[in-house]
Amino acid sequence: MKKSALDFEKELVVLEEKIAELENRNNLSPDEQKTLAELKEAHRKLFQQTYSNLTPWQKVQLARHPNRPTASFYVKKLFTELEEINRPLDPALICGLANFKGQKIALAFVEKGSTVREKQEHRFGMPGPEGYAKFCQLIEVAESLRLPVITLIDTPGAYPGIEAEEKGQAAAIAASIETMLFARVPTIAVIIGEGGSGGAMALAAADRIYVMENAYYSVISPEGCSSILFRDEKQAPLAATLLKLTAENLASLGLIHGIIPEPPGSAARDPDSAAEMLAGTLQKTLEELLAMEVDALLSARHSFFLEMRF
């Protein structure tokens, strides 16, 4: 695994490198064995200290961690037989039918890409109006085949570009939200990394909305909020706290249905376990929703939004 570390993880990574170096050596002297044990103990403590009381800003950083799995990792790991819908073309939002543990489902996911080239190819996970139109198309197919819809969301936001505006980004998002709100099939939305504003909301008007433990879901990025309130981006950590954007914050506000736990040290450290935890929630939720009558589903979905009071 490539060793990309956030600032607050650097000390930990230094220890990990030292431990790995000793472990890779044969015939450790008693002194070296003692050092190794000490290093491991130091690492255990520091690990605990680093990840047990993460600030909202640190969670935002983890949500954007270079080692954090992007949507396509989970898709490859958990879904089979992906049959893509490609009309209209959008590089960031991928839609199609797939198999999830024997259940045929309709899947939409925002892909950010991992390498520089992939990131550019996927426009850094920023869908355009074409993407939201494609998503509406997916829902139509899902309704006609009576398939549940799963969305995996990881986007800094909808694409703010000239063509996107010219082709009606705002209208596309509004239509996407309405289409999802009235979809006559079960719908599950998971924020797996970044849940950036309207671009994320467009895919998250679901029966069940989950946010992964170190993902965030916010009306505006902490940087954007900081530059409006404090005239520069340097106060992003404070803005992250003010915005109450962590999974924990959102669950206690009653805005989401649950938090999907991540392995120790976040999904970036153990993508496979993260995928298993995601799969567990998806499977349980699908079972629950598939047992419900469609009318009851829609009525509960609408009540969830319409009846909230603050």
């Binding site: 909808a158 694409y159 703010p160 570009g161 000239i162 996107a164 505006e165 010219e166 009606g168 980004q169 705002a170 209208a171 998002i173 509004a174 239509a175 939200i177 309405e178 709100l181 009235f182 504003s197 309207g198 909301m201 467009a202 008007a205 879901y217 916010s218 009306v219 505006i220 954007g224 909020c225 409006i228 309130l229 404090f230 404070l238 003010l242 915005l243 109450k244 954007l245 959102l250 506000l253 805005l255 609408h302 939004f305 319409l306 909230m308 603050f310």
Partner: protein, 273 residues
């Protein structure tokens, strides 16, 4: 009075000022004529931004005196404890004093040329017309009210988008208002019409405003999902002149028509079928 694309009755009561300089054509205009002309420059036609109270006055019968504002007690509060750079509750209070309004939108019912309609009127002077719970809830309720009475809904939108200080609660006003508009359309046989004012952006544009049966805009209004500065920062260059303006949107097929302020009463009546 400062004519800087911004005219607001609560803030401008200095009667001694008789002449104004139009910020668009730079000509001097007589204030009384300017107001009689619905806050539109009589020389160049520039539409100045007006507050919700002026909008009511120029749109409804009897200079809006019989317009009935509804749900005025529905307001946002500081749910998140948003304390910086100053407490949100204090910001709300300041905006209430500044505008004489309790929220960034006025909803209510009134008559235009005798026809009863429901209206959603944003006031950009109140926190940039931003939509939080209070604004969203008022919109939800007025759609329910209009469905009940089977009267049309006209939304005059002017907004920077979702209100940051309420975090995701604000973003959730998008599905809430979309649902309300959708239920109105299902329950009633009357139209829901949006009139985008300068500026209409972000989460207000990308929600109920764009789910209307018919979408109009005042001349030269800035209308877009992303603000021009955000786009310029993303693409790394200046935007072309007129980009995201009403006339541009009309050409691109993103709105149905442009309605001048002096046409609005007739426009409304035409839709009261």
């Amino acid at each position: 009075m400062n004519v800087n694309g911004n005219v607001n009755s609560a803030a401008n009561n200095k009667e001694e000022i008789l002449w104004l300089k139009c910020s668009s054509c730079k000509e001097l205009i007589y204030k009384r004529i300017f107001i009689e002309n619905l806050y539109v420059c009589p020389l160049c036609g520039f539409h100045y931004r007006i507050g919700a109270q002026e909008r009511i006055k120029i749109t409804f019968d009897n200079e809006g005196r019989k317009f009935k504002p509804l749900y005025e007690d529905v307001v946002s509060r500081d749910v998140l404890g948003f304390s910086e750079p100053e407490p949100y509750s204090k910001v709300l209070e300041e905006n209430r004093l500044k505008t004489g309004l309790s929220e960034a939108v006025v909803v209510g019912a009134g008559r235009v040329k005798g026809k009863e309609i429901a209206a959603i009127i944003f006031d950009f002077n109140f926190m940039g017309g931003s939509m939080g719970f209070g604004v969203g809830e008022r919109i939800v309720r007025i759609f329910e009210y209009a469905a009940e009475k089977n009267i049309p809904v006209f939304a005059f939108t002017a907004s920077g988008g979702a209100r940051m200080q309420e975090g995701l609660v604000s973003l959730y006003q998008m599905p809430r208002t979309i649902l309300a508009a959708a239920y109105f359309r299902k329950k009633s046989n009357k139209p829901f019409i949006s009139i985008f004012l300068n500026p209409t952006t972000g989460g207000v544009l990308a929600s109920f405003a764009y789910r209307a049966d018919y979408v109009a805009a005042e001349p030269n209004a800035l209308i877009g999902f992303a603000g021009p500065r955000v786009i310029e920062k993303t693409i790394g260059r200046k935007l072309p002149e007129g980009f995201q303006r009403s006339e541009f949107l009309l050409k691109k097929g993103l709105i149905d028509r442009i309605v001048r302020r002096d046409e609005i009463r007739d426009f409304i009546v035409r839709w009261c079928v």
